[in-house]
């Protein structure tokens, strides 16, 4: 069950914090072109054992959110403010060494491109052993034994041989299995998967998604899955957070987001994708225009320039007033100036058209 608190009202810490709680997260980078506000006030929380999909287009801030949780933003030169609570511990205020101790043990991450994410000079087994020894005081032999077990566990055939292979000697799917094994080797509470299958072929993607689901059940891991593919979201997520322009724009359970989305951006995404489970529309109905530049975000609603319905809001509020992320139903939050009834009406219309295909 997802529980999102609005940032202005989030000041009081509840005695019982959820497993993961992000409060008022801001991340910015200084670049030659100006300050990039990659994350512009994100607050959300996630219960233990759930799978949250963070959905968005490039530049929406979904990957940066993940890296901020992992404490990797500072080493990339970014500025982070806000609080990140993981299992009762605030991470953003910790010393770099303290976060480092948690990385790879309490929380782990896998990345988009398994080829470039594995070090080309070291054997895959050694790279996993290194992850074990970074956090636990056990012998090398024991660590290697454990690594071998894990490789078998993530479905690598002939693991005894592969443990001494170099990354380039493995196929893409195999490498991503190694990455997953490496991430899970210290039994982390939280696993963040950043576009884990984007670089893989579709048949391999299916295998990897299946593996993540299986392991999640087995280890009881909480998963944050970052993706742009709504098919994958539908496949594995319990909860969905839709990001746009560095902000959350809609949050809810997966079924809610697919069956009763209210934010026009979410609707736009659903109508943009070609899909194989519906009758073929003659034309797709894409969101017009281009995503905003993170250097120069619109002052009001970040989606306003591409929104088909902003003219329905009185006084041009979309242009000047920043909408808040507000609950519209239990566990369903939407950031939109449109009145709830109007949003639901629009949503119903769009979904009817989508289902009816031919336009």
């Amino acid at each position: 069950m997802i529980n999102v608190e609005e940032r202005e009202g989030s000041a009081e810490p509840s005695p019982e914090r959820p497993f993961l709680s992000i409060e008022n997260l801001f991340v910015s980078f200084n670049t030659e072109d100006g300050v990039v506000r990659a994350i512009d006030g994100v607050s959300l929380s996630l219960e233990r054992g759930r799978t949250l999909a963070v959905v968005g287009e490039s530049g929406s801030g979904k990957s940066v959110t993940a890296q901020a949780i992992m404490g990797l933003v500072r080493s990339m030169g970014g500025h982070v403010s806000g609080e990140i609570w993981l299992d009762g511990q605030e991470l953003n205020g910790l010393q770099p060494e303290e976060v480092q101790a948690l990385r790879g043990s309490e929380m782990a991450m896998i990345f988009q491109d398994p080829m470039s994410s594995l070090h080309p000079f070291y054997r895959v087994g050694d790279q996993i052993v290194e992850a074990i020894l970074a956090h636990r005081k056990i012998g090398k032999a024991a660590a290697r034994k454990e690594t071998l077990e894990m490789l078998k566990h993530v479905g690598i055939p002939a693991a005894e041989r592969r443990i001494d292979a170099y990354p380039h000697q493995l196929s893409g799917g195999m490498r991503q299995r190694v990455m997953i094994g490496m991430a899970l080797i210290n039994s982390p509470q939280l696993l963040i998967a950043d576009e884990p299958t984007t670089a893989l072929d579709v048949t391999v993607q299916a295998q990897i998604l299946e593996l993540i689901s299986t392991l999640k059940e087995e280890f009881g891991t909480t998963v944050i899955l970052i993706t742009h593919d709504l098919g994958i979201v539908a496949d594995v997520a319990d909860d969905v957070a839709v990001m746009y322009g560095g902000r959350l724009v809609e949050v809810g359970q997966t079924s809610t987001i697919y069956e009763a989305p209210e934010m026009p951006y979410t609707l736009g995404l659903l109508s943009s994708i070609p899909r194989m489970d519906r009758e073929l529309p003659k034309r797709l109905d894409p969101i017009r225009g281009n995503p905003p530049s993170p250097i120069n975000l619109p002052p009001g609603c970040v989606f306003q320039p591409r929104c088909n319905y902003s003219d329905r809001v009185a006084n041009g509020a979309c242009l000047s007033v920043r909408p808040e992320l507000l609950p519209t139903a239990p566990g369903h939050l939407v950031r939109c100036h449109l009145p709830a009834e109007e949003r639901q009406q629009i949503s119903a219309d769009v979904r009817r058209i989508l289902a009816g295909a031919q336009r």
Binding site: M70, L72, S75, P96, E97, Q100, A101, L102, R103, G104, S105, A108, M109, F111, Q112, D113, S116, S117, L118, H119, P120, F121, E130, A131, A134, H135, Y166, H168, M179, M182, A183
Partner: protein, 332 residues
């Protein structure tokens, strides 16, 4: 791996043969007649002919080349038809009639100078280049970075003869911090102090230009590798920052530098002509230039062979080293 080395070695031999052959061909195409050049003031056609015979230029170039090659393996005899023949024992790279010495002796005498010059310069520039380059990368955009890059730009834009002369004039002639450089046989083992005093400025001269290049190269490589996904993975594993930088980032980032460095060192071993000249060092570079000016074919051929061998071997070593460091290019 063994097969690879054998194949590379064979290729190397072919290349060396072609190279020395090219030297012979170029030499025989030269418009000036070496026999005439060495004839001097008291010259007559008879003397020219005599010189030609003495220099073995009266036999076809192909046979000259054959003698050169067979001399390397079996030795050879010059002036065989006189009562004072000259024996040159294998490995014979030839006999320089202009210097009245065996080419191998000349090279053997010059090689240590160039060796120490190159090694010292190499160590200096690599140390400076790597340390400053890494510091600049780690402190990217800050004053340390800007300072290092400023130095690199200045160092890079100065020609080496200028650096050498300025150092000589300033350090030796005006400040009297060091005596005039003077290479003595047996250095550095015989006279370590004199060796350092003699070599310090040449090392700095050679290092300045290269260090500037390596600072920039190192900085760019390290910065590039810090953006690599596997460095992010290393951090995500929870490794110590030190381990991330040294084991994951630098090892990968510095590997291509090994290639460049190995070849640069090999070129230097072939002779650092300008530096050797300014600092009066009897190395291979000045030997080479002298032999070219004097059209001393045996010496030119010998030095070409040695220098080319050095460069080709260095190339091979670098490739093998690269294969050791980077499993992606490993063979076998």
């Amino acid at each position: 791996m063994a097969g690879y080395i054998v194949r590379r070695t064979l290729g190397m031999v072919v290349l060396l043969v072609l190279l020395t052959l090219a030297v012979f061909v170029l030499f025989s195409l030269m418009p000036a007649d070496p026999a005439r050049l060495t004839c001097g003031k008291a010259c007559s056609p008879q003397i020219i002919e005599n010189n030609r015979h003495r220099l073995e230029l009266d036999i076809p170039p192909v046979e000259q080349y054959q003698r050169f090659v067979s001399g390397i393996f079996f030795g050879r005899t010059y002036l065989a038809d006189t009562k004072r023949p000259l024996e040159c024992e294998a490995p014979c790279l030839g006999y320089s009639f202009l210097r009245n010495q065996e080419v191998l002796d000349l090279i053997t005498k010059a090689a240590p100078v160039t060796f120490w010059l190159a090694i010292g310069g190499f160590v200096t520039w690599m140390t400076v280049g790597l340390v400053f380059g890494i510091v600049a990368a780690l402190k990217r955009g800050r004053w340390q970075d800007r300072t290092v890059m400023g130095i690199a730009l200045v160092g890079y834009s100065l020609p080496s003869f200028f650096i050498g002369l300025v150092l000589y004039f300033f350090v030796i002639l005006f400040l009297h911090l060091l005596p005039n450089p003077q290479w003595k046989a047996g250095m550095p083992f015989k006279d370590l102090g004199g060796f350092v005093q003699t070599m310090l400025l040449p090392w700095i001269t050679i290092a300045t230009l290269n260090a500037a290049f390596y600072m920039r190269l190192t900085r760019n490589q390290v910065l590039e590798v810090f953006g690599e996904d596997y460095v992010r993975t290393a951090r995500a594993k929870g490794l110590k920052e030190r381990t991330v930088v040294v084991k994951h980032a630098l090892r990968a980032g510095l590997t291509p530098i090994v290639t460049a460095a190995g070849l640069d060192l090999a070129y230097l071993l072939g002779g650092a002509i300008i530096t050797e000249n300014i600092f009066n060092l009897p190395g291979l570079g000045s030997l080479a230039i002298g032999s070219v000016i004097a059209s001393d074919l045996p010496l030119i051929s010998g030095i070409t062979l040695i220098a080319a061998t050095l460069i080709i071997v260095a190339n091979l070593v670098v490739d093998l080293l690269y294969a050791v460091v980077d499993p992606r290019v490993r063979v076998g």
